[in-house]
Protein backbone atom coordinates (compact mmCIF):
# COMPACT_ATOMS: atom_id res chain seq x y z
CA UNK A 1 0.00 0.00 0.00
CA UNK A 2 1.31 3.41 -0.90
CA UNK A 3 1.42 5.58 2.17
CA UNK A 4 0.10 9.05 1.34
CA UNK A 5 2.42 10.63 3.88
CA UNK A 6 5.49 9.95 1.75
CA UNK A 7 3.96 10.90 -1.60
CA UNK A 8 5.85 14.17 -2.10
CA UNK A 9 8.76 13.34 0.14
CA UNK A 10 12.19 14.82 -0.40
CA UNK A 11 14.87 12.51 -1.70
CA UNK A 12 17.57 13.73 0.61
CA UNK A 13 17.41 15.68 3.84
CA UNK A 14 19.80 18.29 2.56
CA UNK A 15 17.84 18.86 -0.63
CA UNK A 16 14.69 18.92 1.47
CA UNK A 17 13.45 22.23 0.16
CA UNK A 18 15.59 23.03 -2.80
CA UNK A 19 13.04 25.42 -4.21
CA UNK A 20 12.93 27.47 -1.03
CA UNK A 21 16.72 27.37 -0.90
CA UNK A 22 16.94 28.83 -4.39
CA UNK A 23 14.59 31.72 -3.55
CA UNK A 24 16.47 32.22 -0.33
CA UNK A 25 19.83 32.36 -2.11
CA UNK A 26 18.51 34.86 -4.65
CA UNK A 27 17.24 37.10 -1.86
CA UNK A 28 20.59 36.96 -0.06
CA UNK A 29 22.50 37.79 -3.25
CA UNK A 30 20.22 40.79 -3.71
CA UNK A 31 20.98 41.94 -0.16
CA UNK A 32 24.71 41.43 -0.80
CA UNK A 33 24.39 43.52 -3.98
CA UNK A 34 22.79 46.31 -1.98
CA UNK A 35 25.57 46.08 0.62
CA UNK A 36 28.18 46.39 -2.13
CA UNK A 37 26.75 49.53 -3.75
CA UNK A 38 25.58 51.11 -0.50
CA UNK A 39 28.79 53.18 0.10
CA UNK A 40 28.10 55.04 -3.17
CA UNK A 41 24.58 56.02 -2.20
CA UNK A 42 24.16 59.20 -0.14
CA UNK A 43 24.25 59.58 2.80
CA UNK A 44 26.56 56.52 2.98
CA UNK A 45 29.21 58.31 0.90
CA UNK A 46 30.38 60.22 3.99
CA UNK A 47 33.30 58.91 6.07
CA UNK A 48 31.13 58.77 9.22
CA UNK A 49 28.54 56.60 7.54
CA UNK A 50 31.20 54.40 5.98
CA UNK A 51 32.77 53.88 9.39
CA UNK A 52 29.35 52.83 10.62
CA UNK A 53 29.01 50.44 7.71
CA UNK A 54 32.31 48.79 8.65
CA UNK A 55 31.06 48.43 12.21
CA UNK A 56 27.75 47.03 10.92
CA UNK A 57 29.42 44.38 8.77
CA UNK A 58 31.72 43.41 11.63
CA UNK A 59 28.78 43.11 14.01
CA UNK A 60 26.90 41.11 11.38
CA UNK A 61 29.72 38.59 11.02
CA UNK A 62 30.11 38.24 14.79
CA UNK A 63 26.37 37.69 15.17
CA UNK A 64 26.54 34.91 12.57
CA UNK A 65 29.36 33.18 14.46
CA UNK A 66 27.42 33.63 17.70
CA UNK A 67 24.23 32.20 16.21
CA UNK A 68 26.21 29.16 15.05
CA UNK A 69 26.39 28.15 18.73
CA UNK A 70 23.33 29.76 20.33
CA UNK A 71 20.91 29.02 17.52
CA UNK A 72 21.85 25.39 16.90
CA UNK A 73 23.36 23.60 19.90
CA UNK A 74 21.41 25.98 22.14
CA UNK A 75 24.31 27.07 24.33
CA UNK A 76 24.66 30.82 24.77
CA UNK A 77 28.33 31.68 24.77
CA UNK A 78 28.40 34.65 27.15
CA UNK A 79 32.15 34.79 26.79
CA UNK A 80 31.92 35.44 23.07
CA UNK A 81 33.51 38.91 23.21
CA UNK A 82 36.54 37.43 24.97
CA UNK A 83 37.20 35.19 21.97
CA UNK A 84 36.93 38.23 19.70
CA UNK A 85 39.40 40.03 21.96
CA UNK A 86 41.68 37.01 22.15
CA UNK A 87 41.97 36.91 18.37
CA UNK A 88 42.54 40.67 18.27
CA UNK A 89 45.22 40.68 20.94
CA UNK A 90 47.00 37.67 19.44
CA UNK A 91 47.19 39.26 16.02
CA UNK A 92 47.97 42.69 17.47
CA UNK A 93 50.80 41.47 19.71
CA UNK A 94 52.30 39.39 16.90
CA UNK A 95 52.37 42.53 14.74
CA UNK A 96 53.72 44.81 17.49
CA UNK A 97 56.30 42.49 19.05
CA UNK A 98 57.36 40.29 16.17
CA UNK A 99 56.42 42.38 13.15
CA UNK A 100 54.16 39.66 11.78
CA UNK A 101 51.90 40.89 8.98
CA UNK A 102 48.32 41.43 10.17
CA UNK A 103 47.15 39.37 7.19
CA UNK A 104 48.90 36.35 8.74
CA UNK A 105 48.29 37.41 12.33
CA UNK A 106 44.50 37.39 12.07
CA UNK A 107 44.63 33.73 11.11
CA UNK A 108 46.94 32.89 14.00
CA UNK A 109 44.51 34.77 16.25
CA UNK A 110 41.66 32.73 14.81
CA UNK A 111 43.53 29.50 15.48
CA UNK A 112 44.31 30.42 19.08
CA UNK A 113 40.74 31.59 19.76
CA UNK A 114 39.48 28.37 18.20
CA UNK A 115 41.77 26.35 20.45
CA UNK A 116 40.60 28.16 23.59
CA UNK A 117 37.03 27.72 22.31
CA UNK A 118 37.69 23.99 22.03
CA UNK A 119 38.87 23.91 25.66
CA UNK A 120 35.83 25.94 26.72
CA UNK A 121 33.60 23.52 24.87
CA UNK A 122 35.17 20.67 26.81
CA UNK A 123 34.62 22.53 30.10
CA UNK A 124 30.95 23.16 29.40
CA UNK A 125 30.25 19.65 28.12
CA UNK A 126 28.67 18.22 31.20
CA UNK A 127 26.60 21.35 31.77
CA UNK A 128 23.21 22.23 30.38
CA UNK A 129 21.64 25.52 29.39
CA UNK A 130 22.31 28.31 31.80
CA UNK A 131 25.21 26.48 33.48
CA UNK A 132 27.06 26.10 30.21
CA UNK A 133 26.39 29.77 29.44
CA UNK A 134 27.74 30.83 32.84
CA UNK A 135 30.82 28.63 32.43
CA UNK A 136 31.56 30.21 29.05
CA UNK A 137 31.04 33.62 30.63
CA UNK A 138 33.58 32.83 33.38
CA UNK A 139 36.12 31.73 30.81
CA UNK A 140 35.55 35.05 29.05
CA UNK A 141 35.97 37.01 32.28
CA UNK A 142 39.14 35.07 33.07
CA UNK A 143 40.63 35.87 29.67
CA UNK A 144 39.73 39.55 30.08
CA UNK A 145 41.25 39.53 33.58
CA UNK A 146 44.47 38.10 32.20
CA UNK A 147 44.71 40.73 29.49
CA UNK A 148 44.00 43.51 31.96
CA UNK A 149 46.48 42.26 34.54
CA UNK A 150 49.43 41.51 32.29
CA UNK A 151 50.31 45.11 31.39
CA UNK A 152 53.91 44.11 30.59
CA UNK A 153 52.63 42.17 27.62
CA UNK A 154 49.30 43.72 26.71
CA UNK A 155 49.71 47.25 28.14
CA UNK A 156 46.50 46.50 30.04
CA UNK A 157 43.99 49.30 30.28
CA UNK A 158 46.40 51.78 28.66
CA UNK A 159 45.56 50.20 25.35
CA UNK A 160 47.71 48.56 22.73
CA UNK A 161 48.43 50.47 19.55
CA UNK A 162 48.22 48.10 16.63
CA UNK A 163 49.35 48.60 13.02
CA UNK A 164 46.57 48.94 10.49
CA UNK A 165 45.54 46.23 8.08
CA UNK A 166 45.78 48.53 5.05
CA UNK A 167 48.04 51.48 4.23
CA UNK A 168 45.11 53.84 4.35
CA UNK A 169 42.73 55.20 6.92
CA UNK A 170 40.01 55.59 4.29
CA UNK A 171 37.05 53.49 5.43
CA UNK A 172 35.90 52.23 2.04
CA UNK A 173 38.57 49.54 1.43
CA UNK A 174 38.11 48.28 5.00
CA UNK A 175 34.43 48.00 4.31
CA UNK A 176 35.01 45.65 1.41
CA UNK A 177 37.49 43.59 3.42
CA UNK A 178 35.03 43.07 6.26
CA UNK A 179 32.16 42.50 3.83
CA UNK A 180 34.24 39.72 2.29
CA UNK A 181 34.94 38.31 5.74
CA UNK A 182 31.21 38.42 6.49
CA UNK A 183 30.44 36.50 3.31
CA UNK A 184 33.12 33.89 4.11
CA UNK A 185 31.78 33.49 7.67
CA UNK A 186 28.22 33.14 6.47
CA UNK A 187 29.03 30.74 3.63
CA UNK A 188 31.38 28.48 5.62
CA UNK A 189 29.09 28.22 8.63
CA UNK A 190 26.01 27.71 6.44
CA UNK A 191 27.74 24.87 4.60
CA UNK A 192 28.55 23.23 7.96
CA UNK A 193 24.98 23.70 9.18
CA UNK A 194 23.49 22.21 6.02
CA UNK A 195 25.69 19.12 6.34
CA UNK A 196 25.11 16.13 8.59
CA UNK A 197 27.26 17.90 11.18
CA UNK A 198 24.64 20.65 11.33
CA UNK A 199 21.92 18.05 11.67
CA UNK A 200 23.76 16.68 14.71
CA UNK A 201 24.06 20.23 16.15
CA UNK A 202 20.32 20.78 15.81
CA UNK A 203 19.53 17.40 17.31
CA UNK A 204 21.77 18.06 20.33
CA UNK A 205 20.30 21.53 20.79
CA UNK A 206 16.70 20.36 20.61
CA UNK A 207 16.89 17.23 22.70
CA UNK A 208 20.14 15.91 24.08
CA UNK A 209 18.75 12.59 25.28
CA UNK A 210 17.08 11.79 21.97
CA UNK A 211 20.26 12.81 20.16
CA UNK A 212 22.23 10.31 22.25
CA UNK A 213 19.59 7.64 21.72
CA UNK A 214 19.96 8.27 17.99
CA UNK A 215 23.65 7.49 18.09
CA UNK A 216 25.09 11.02 18.23
CA UNK A 217 28.16 11.49 20.38
CA UNK A 218 27.42 14.95 21.84
CA UNK A 219 30.97 15.56 23.05
CA UNK A 220 32.46 15.56 19.58
CA UNK A 221 29.89 17.95 18.13
CA UNK A 222 29.72 20.37 21.06
CA UNK A 223 33.48 20.80 21.04
CA UNK A 224 33.58 21.16 17.26
CA UNK A 225 30.85 23.79 17.38
CA UNK A 226 32.56 25.84 20.09
CA UNK A 227 35.92 25.62 18.35
CA UNK A 228 34.54 26.76 14.99
CA UNK A 229 32.46 29.59 16.41
CA UNK A 230 35.37 30.83 18.52
CA UNK A 231 37.81 30.61 15.62
CA UNK A 232 35.59 32.89 13.56
CA UNK A 233 35.19 35.20 16.55
CA UNK A 234 38.97 35.40 16.83
CA UNK A 235 39.39 36.01 13.12
CA UNK A 236 36.91 38.89 13.23
CA UNK A 237 38.64 40.17 16.36
CA UNK A 238 41.82 40.40 14.31
CA UNK A 239 40.05 42.65 11.84
CA UNK A 240 38.73 44.75 14.71
CA UNK A 241 42.25 45.24 16.06
CA UNK A 242 43.84 46.20 12.76
CA UNK A 243 40.96 48.43 11.73
CA UNK A 244 40.53 50.54 14.85
CA UNK A 245 44.27 50.42 15.54
CA UNK A 246 43.85 50.30 19.31
CA UNK A 247 42.95 47.49 21.66
CA UNK A 248 41.84 47.75 25.26
CA UNK A 249 40.49 44.95 27.48
CA UNK A 250 37.10 46.60 27.03
CA UNK A 251 36.63 44.74 23.72
CA UNK A 252 36.05 41.69 25.90
CA UNK A 253 33.34 43.22 28.08
CA UNK A 254 30.18 41.22 28.55
CA UNK A 255 28.19 44.16 27.20
CA UNK A 256 29.90 43.52 23.86
CA UNK A 257 28.65 39.94 23.94
CA UNK A 258 25.18 41.19 24.78
CA UNK A 259 25.25 43.51 21.77
CA UNK A 260 26.10 40.55 19.52
CA UNK A 261 23.45 38.45 21.26
CA UNK A 262 20.81 41.13 20.72
CA UNK A 263 21.57 41.29 17.00
CA UNK A 264 21.58 37.49 16.71
CA UNK A 265 18.25 37.12 18.50
CA UNK A 266 16.52 39.99 16.72
CA UNK A 267 17.79 38.65 13.41
CA UNK A 268 16.55 35.19 14.24
CA UNK A 269 18.13 32.37 16.16
CA UNK A 270 19.08 29.33 14.16
CA UNK A 271 19.09 31.01 10.76
CA UNK A 272 22.63 32.47 10.41
CA UNK A 273 21.53 34.87 7.66
CA UNK A 274 18.95 36.67 9.81
CA UNK A 275 21.57 38.15 12.15
CA UNK A 276 23.79 39.02 9.16
CA UNK A 277 21.07 41.01 7.44
CA UNK A 278 19.51 42.73 10.44
CA UNK A 279 22.87 43.92 11.80
CA UNK A 280 23.06 46.64 9.13
CA UNK A 281 19.86 48.62 9.81
CA UNK A 282 20.24 47.97 13.53
CA UNK A 283 23.75 49.26 13.91
CA UNK A 284 23.14 52.26 11.64
CA UNK A 285 20.12 53.09 13.82
CA UNK A 286 22.25 52.69 16.92
CA UNK A 287 24.94 55.03 15.55
CA UNK A 288 22.32 57.62 14.66
CA UNK A 289 20.93 57.41 18.18
CA UNK A 290 24.43 57.79 19.57
CA UNK A 291 25.14 60.96 17.58
CA UNK A 292 21.67 62.48 17.98
CA UNK A 293 21.56 61.89 21.70
CA UNK A 294 25.25 62.22 22.57
CA UNK A 295 24.28 63.49 26.02
CA UNK A 296 22.47 60.23 26.75
CA UNK A 297 25.15 57.51 26.48
CA UNK A 298 23.84 53.97 26.56
CA UNK A 299 20.52 54.89 24.96
CA UNK A 300 21.24 52.30 22.26
CA UNK A 301 21.09 49.56 24.90
CA UNK A 302 17.53 50.66 25.60
CA UNK A 303 16.77 50.29 21.89
CA UNK A 304 18.25 46.78 21.88
CA UNK A 305 16.30 45.93 25.01
CA UNK A 306 13.01 47.13 23.58
CA UNK A 307 13.54 45.33 20.28
CA UNK A 308 14.49 42.14 22.09
CA UNK A 309 11.30 42.30 24.16
CA UNK A 310 9.17 42.87 21.06
CA UNK A 311 10.89 39.98 19.25
CA UNK A 312 10.57 37.61 22.21
CA UNK A 313 6.86 38.31 22.54
CA UNK A 314 5.73 38.51 18.92
CA UNK A 315 8.35 36.71 16.85
CA UNK A 316 10.56 34.41 18.92
CA UNK A 317 12.20 33.29 15.67
CA UNK A 318 13.21 36.88 14.93
CA UNK A 319 13.29 38.57 11.55
CA UNK A 320 14.34 35.31 9.86
CA UNK A 321 11.16 33.57 11.01
CA UNK A 322 9.06 36.51 9.88
CA UNK A 323 10.72 36.37 6.46
CA UNK A 324 10.12 32.62 6.32
CA UNK A 325 6.40 33.15 6.94
CA UNK A 326 6.28 35.61 4.07
CA UNK A 327 8.17 33.16 1.87
CA UNK A 328 5.77 30.34 2.74
CA UNK A 329 2.85 32.61 1.97
CA UNK A 330 4.31 33.33 -1.49
CA UNK A 331 5.00 29.63 -2.09
CA UNK A 332 1.42 28.74 -1.10
CA UNK A 333 0.03 31.23 -3.57
CA UNK A 334 2.09 29.68 -6.36
CA UNK A 335 1.32 26.06 -5.57
CA UNK A 336 -2.07 24.43 -5.03
CA UNK A 337 -2.98 23.93 -1.37
CA UNK A 338 -1.32 20.91 0.24
CA UNK A 339 -3.67 18.18 1.45
CA UNK A 340 -3.01 19.06 5.03
CA UNK A 341 -1.37 22.06 6.62
CA UNK A 342 0.70 21.17 9.69
CA UNK A 343 -0.66 24.07 11.68
CA UNK A 344 -2.72 22.31 14.29
CA UNK A 345 -2.14 23.71 17.74
Amino acid sequence: MANPSVANAPTSPIEADRDATRRHRAALLLVLGIAIVLPFVPPFTGQDYQRWLVGAALLAAMAVAFDFTAGYINVVNFGFAAFVGLGGYTSGLLAVDLGVSPWIGIFVGAALAGFVGLLTGMLTLRLRGIYAAVMAWFVGLAVMGLVRNLPDITRGSLGLNVPLLLDTSDNLPYYYVILGMLVVTLVVLTVVIRSYIGLAFRAIGQNLQAARASGINPTRYLVLNFALSSAFAGWLGGFYAHYYGILTPDVMLTSRTVEVLAVAYIGGRGSLWGPAVIAFPLSIAVELLRTQFANLPGLYLVLYGLLLIVVMIYRPGGVAAAARSVDEWIARRRRPEPVETPRAT
Binding site: S5, Y196, Q206, Q209, A210, S214, P342
Partner: protein, 242 residues
Protein backbone atom coordinates in the same frame (compact mmCIF):
# COMPACT_ATOMS: atom_id res chain seq x y z
CA UNK B 1 21.09 -17.80 22.09
CA UNK B 2 20.75 -14.94 24.53
CA UNK B 3 21.09 -11.53 22.90
CA UNK B 4 20.98 -9.68 26.22
CA UNK B 5 22.25 -10.99 29.52
CA UNK B 6 22.11 -8.84 32.61
CA UNK B 7 23.41 -10.04 35.90
CA UNK B 8 23.29 -8.40 39.29
CA UNK B 9 22.44 -4.99 37.86
CA UNK B 10 22.00 -2.44 40.64
CA UNK B 11 21.25 1.27 40.39
CA UNK B 12 21.15 3.53 43.41
CA UNK B 13 20.10 7.19 43.57
CA UNK B 14 21.59 8.36 46.86
CA UNK B 15 19.96 6.20 49.53
CA UNK B 16 17.30 4.83 47.21
CA UNK B 17 18.01 1.56 45.45
CA UNK B 18 15.90 1.84 42.32
CA UNK B 19 17.12 -1.40 40.77
CA UNK B 20 18.41 -4.09 43.10
CA UNK B 21 20.54 -6.97 41.88
CA UNK B 22 18.44 -7.85 38.85
CA UNK B 23 19.45 -10.82 36.74
CA UNK B 24 17.81 -12.18 33.61
CA UNK B 25 18.53 -12.85 30.01
CA UNK B 26 16.61 -12.22 26.82
CA UNK B 27 16.71 -14.72 23.98
CA UNK B 28 17.22 -13.57 20.42
CA UNK B 29 14.00 -12.72 18.63
CA UNK B 30 11.69 -12.97 21.63
CA UNK B 31 9.35 -10.36 23.03
CA UNK B 32 10.23 -9.91 26.63
CA UNK B 33 7.93 -8.03 29.02
CA UNK B 34 9.00 -6.05 32.05
CA UNK B 35 6.14 -5.19 34.35
CA UNK B 36 5.67 -3.88 37.87
CA UNK B 37 3.89 -1.18 39.84
CA UNK B 38 4.73 2.50 39.39
CA UNK B 39 8.13 3.29 40.83
CA UNK B 40 9.29 -0.33 40.64
CA UNK B 41 12.41 0.67 38.71
CA UNK B 42 11.38 -0.48 35.24
CA UNK B 43 12.38 2.70 33.42
CA UNK B 44 15.57 2.93 35.47
CA UNK B 45 16.49 -0.62 34.46
CA UNK B 46 15.74 0.16 30.82
CA UNK B 47 17.92 3.27 31.04
CA UNK B 48 20.75 1.14 32.44
CA UNK B 49 20.41 -1.18 29.45
CA UNK B 50 20.27 1.67 26.94
CA UNK B 51 23.27 3.46 28.40
CA UNK B 52 21.40 6.51 29.66
CA UNK B 53 22.31 5.52 33.19
CA UNK B 54 25.42 3.76 34.40
CA UNK B 55 24.60 0.94 36.83
CA UNK B 56 26.34 0.95 40.22
CA UNK B 57 26.91 -2.76 40.00
CA UNK B 58 26.41 -5.81 37.83
CA UNK B 59 27.04 -6.42 34.17
CA UNK B 60 25.11 -5.95 30.95
CA UNK B 61 26.11 -8.16 28.04
CA UNK B 62 24.97 -7.69 24.48
CA UNK B 63 25.64 -10.72 22.26
CA UNK B 64 28.08 -11.93 24.88
CA UNK B 65 30.06 -8.70 24.84
CA UNK B 66 30.31 -6.69 28.05
CA UNK B 67 28.61 -3.33 27.41
CA UNK B 68 28.13 -2.25 31.03
CA UNK B 69 28.25 1.53 31.39
CA UNK B 70 28.74 2.33 27.71
CA UNK B 71 27.10 5.66 26.80
CA UNK B 72 23.74 5.73 25.04
CA UNK B 73 25.16 6.75 21.66
CA UNK B 74 27.54 3.77 21.68
CA UNK B 75 24.71 1.43 22.64
CA UNK B 76 22.64 2.80 19.79
CA UNK B 77 25.41 2.17 17.29
CA UNK B 78 25.86 -1.32 18.73
CA UNK B 79 22.27 -2.05 17.79
CA UNK B 80 20.14 -1.09 20.76
CA UNK B 81 17.21 1.16 19.92
CA UNK B 82 14.93 2.66 22.54
CA UNK B 83 11.74 4.64 22.82
CA UNK B 84 10.87 6.91 25.71
CA UNK B 85 8.01 6.82 28.17
CA UNK B 86 7.30 10.41 27.25
CA UNK B 87 8.29 10.58 23.56
CA UNK B 88 11.19 12.91 22.96
CA UNK B 89 11.27 14.21 19.43
CA UNK B 90 13.41 17.03 18.08
CA UNK B 91 10.56 19.56 18.29
CA UNK B 92 11.67 22.04 15.62
CA UNK B 93 12.44 19.41 13.01
CA UNK B 94 10.09 17.76 10.58
CA UNK B 95 9.03 14.15 11.09
CA UNK B 96 11.38 13.24 8.26
CA UNK B 97 14.41 14.99 9.76
CA UNK B 98 13.68 13.43 13.16
CA UNK B 99 14.04 9.98 11.67
CA UNK B 100 16.92 10.98 9.39
CA UNK B 101 19.00 11.83 12.48
CA UNK B 102 18.74 8.27 13.78
CA UNK B 103 19.29 6.74 10.35
CA UNK B 104 22.38 8.87 9.72
CA UNK B 105 24.05 8.59 13.11
CA UNK B 106 22.58 5.44 14.66
CA UNK B 107 23.70 2.87 12.12
CA UNK B 108 27.46 2.79 11.56
CA UNK B 109 27.04 0.61 8.47
CA UNK B 110 24.62 2.79 6.52
CA UNK B 111 25.73 4.56 3.33
CA UNK B 112 24.97 8.30 3.15
CA UNK B 113 22.86 7.91 0.03
CA UNK B 114 20.70 5.33 1.81
CA UNK B 115 19.81 7.58 4.76
CA UNK B 116 16.77 9.30 3.25
CA UNK B 117 15.45 6.01 1.87
CA UNK B 118 15.80 4.33 5.26
CA UNK B 119 14.06 7.21 7.03
CA UNK B 120 11.11 7.15 4.63
CA UNK B 121 10.90 3.36 4.86
CA UNK B 122 10.69 3.50 8.64
CA UNK B 123 8.09 6.28 8.62
CA UNK B 124 6.03 4.12 6.30
CA UNK B 125 6.74 0.99 8.35
CA UNK B 126 5.16 2.49 11.49
CA UNK B 127 2.24 3.69 9.33
CA UNK B 128 2.79 7.28 10.26
CA UNK B 129 -0.47 9.08 9.51
CA UNK B 130 0.67 12.61 8.60
CA UNK B 131 2.92 14.23 5.96
CA UNK B 132 6.62 13.74 6.65
CA UNK B 133 7.15 17.49 6.47
CA UNK B 134 4.99 18.06 9.57
CA UNK B 135 6.88 19.65 12.44
CA UNK B 136 7.29 17.29 15.40
CA UNK B 137 5.92 19.95 17.76
CA UNK B 138 2.60 19.76 15.91
CA UNK B 139 2.01 16.06 16.61
CA UNK B 140 -0.38 14.56 19.15
CA UNK B 141 0.62 11.96 21.74
CA UNK B 142 -0.19 8.89 19.65
CA UNK B 143 1.65 10.30 16.63
CA UNK B 144 4.66 11.10 18.82
CA UNK B 145 4.74 7.46 19.95
CA UNK B 146 4.88 6.31 16.36
CA UNK B 147 7.53 8.86 15.49
CA UNK B 148 9.60 7.74 18.47
CA UNK B 149 9.28 4.15 17.28
CA UNK B 150 10.28 5.09 13.73
CA UNK B 151 13.29 6.93 15.12
CA UNK B 152 14.32 3.95 17.21
CA UNK B 153 13.94 1.59 14.23
CA UNK B 154 15.84 3.87 11.85
CA UNK B 155 19.15 3.09 13.55
CA UNK B 156 18.66 -0.54 12.48
CA UNK B 157 18.55 -2.07 15.97
CA UNK B 158 18.77 -5.78 16.77
CA UNK B 159 17.37 -5.09 20.22
CA UNK B 160 14.52 -2.67 20.78
CA UNK B 161 13.73 -1.31 24.25
CA UNK B 162 10.20 0.06 24.49
CA UNK B 163 9.14 2.13 27.47
CA UNK B 164 5.35 2.14 27.81
CA UNK B 165 4.70 2.48 24.14
CA UNK B 166 1.01 1.71 24.62
CA UNK B 167 0.32 4.10 27.50
CA UNK B 168 -2.56 6.43 26.70
CA UNK B 169 -3.45 4.85 23.37
CA UNK B 170 -7.02 4.10 22.33
CA UNK B 171 -8.11 0.44 21.95
CA UNK B 172 -7.96 0.82 18.18
CA UNK B 173 -4.40 2.15 18.29
CA UNK B 174 -3.50 -0.62 20.70
CA UNK B 175 -4.50 -3.27 18.19
CA UNK B 176 -2.52 -1.57 15.47
CA UNK B 177 0.55 -1.25 17.72
CA UNK B 178 0.30 -4.95 18.61
CA UNK B 179 0.28 -5.86 14.92
CA UNK B 180 3.23 -3.56 14.34
CA UNK B 181 5.28 -5.05 17.18
CA UNK B 182 4.62 -8.56 15.91
CA UNK B 183 5.81 -7.47 12.51
CA UNK B 184 8.97 -5.93 13.97
CA UNK B 185 9.73 -9.20 15.76
CA UNK B 186 8.97 -11.06 12.55
CA UNK B 187 11.70 -8.98 10.91
CA UNK B 188 14.23 -10.37 13.37
CA UNK B 189 14.30 -7.70 16.08
CA UNK B 190 14.30 -8.68 19.74
CA UNK B 191 11.97 -6.58 21.90
CA UNK B 192 12.12 -5.76 25.58
CA UNK B 193 9.00 -3.86 26.56
CA UNK B 194 8.08 -2.07 29.76
CA UNK B 195 4.32 -1.95 29.80
CA UNK B 196 1.28 -1.43 31.98
CA UNK B 197 -1.33 -2.46 29.46
CA UNK B 198 -1.79 -6.11 30.43
CA UNK B 199 -3.77 -6.91 27.33
CA UNK B 200 -0.77 -6.09 25.19
CA UNK B 201 1.61 -7.92 27.50
CA UNK B 202 -0.42 -11.13 27.55
CA UNK B 203 -0.98 -10.95 23.84
CA UNK B 204 2.62 -10.37 22.79
CA UNK B 205 5.16 -11.42 25.36
CA UNK B 206 6.84 -14.79 25.36
CA UNK B 207 8.29 -14.25 28.78
CA UNK B 208 7.85 -11.77 31.61
CA UNK B 209 9.81 -10.35 34.49
CA UNK B 210 8.11 -8.57 37.35
CA UNK B 211 9.90 -5.83 39.24
CA UNK B 212 8.77 -4.72 42.67
CA UNK B 213 10.70 -2.09 44.67
CA UNK B 214 13.62 -2.65 42.34
CA UNK B 215 13.74 -6.40 42.86
CA UNK B 216 12.83 -9.16 40.50
CA UNK B 217 9.96 -11.02 42.16
CA UNK B 218 8.89 -13.29 39.33
CA UNK B 219 10.23 -14.46 36.06
CA UNK B 220 9.08 -16.92 33.44
CA UNK B 221 6.62 -17.46 30.64
CA UNK B 222 3.80 -14.96 30.52
CA UNK B 223 0.90 -17.18 31.57
CA UNK B 224 2.76 -18.63 34.55
CA UNK B 225 3.87 -15.24 35.82
CA UNK B 226 0.37 -13.79 35.55
CA UNK B 227 -0.89 -16.62 37.79
CA UNK B 228 1.83 -16.12 40.40
CA UNK B 229 0.29 -15.14 43.75
CA UNK B 230 3.08 -12.77 44.68
CA UNK B 231 2.66 -10.92 41.40
CA UNK B 232 -1.09 -10.66 41.82
CA UNK B 233 -0.70 -9.24 45.27
CA UNK B 234 2.05 -6.78 44.37
CA UNK B 235 0.79 -5.54 41.10
CA UNK B 236 -2.20 -6.90 39.31
CA UNK B 237 -4.53 -6.55 42.27
CA UNK B 238 -7.88 -8.07 43.01
CA UNK B 239 -9.62 -6.98 39.83
CA UNK B 240 -7.35 -8.90 37.53
CA UNK B 241 -7.72 -12.11 39.54
CA UNK B 242 -11.49 -12.00 39.15
Amino acid sequence: MAILEISGVTKRFGGLTAVDNVTFSVEANEIFGLIGPNGAGKTTLLSCLAGDLRPNGGTVRLDGRDTTGLPADRMCRLGVGRTFQIPRPFPHMSVFDNVVVAAAFGDPKIQRDQVARRALDMIEYVEFPRPVTTLASHLNAAQLKRLDLARALASGPRLLLLDELAAGLTPGELTSIATLLRRIRGDGVTIVMVEHVMRLIMELCDRLSVLHYGELIAHGDAATVARDDLVREAYLGQSYIL
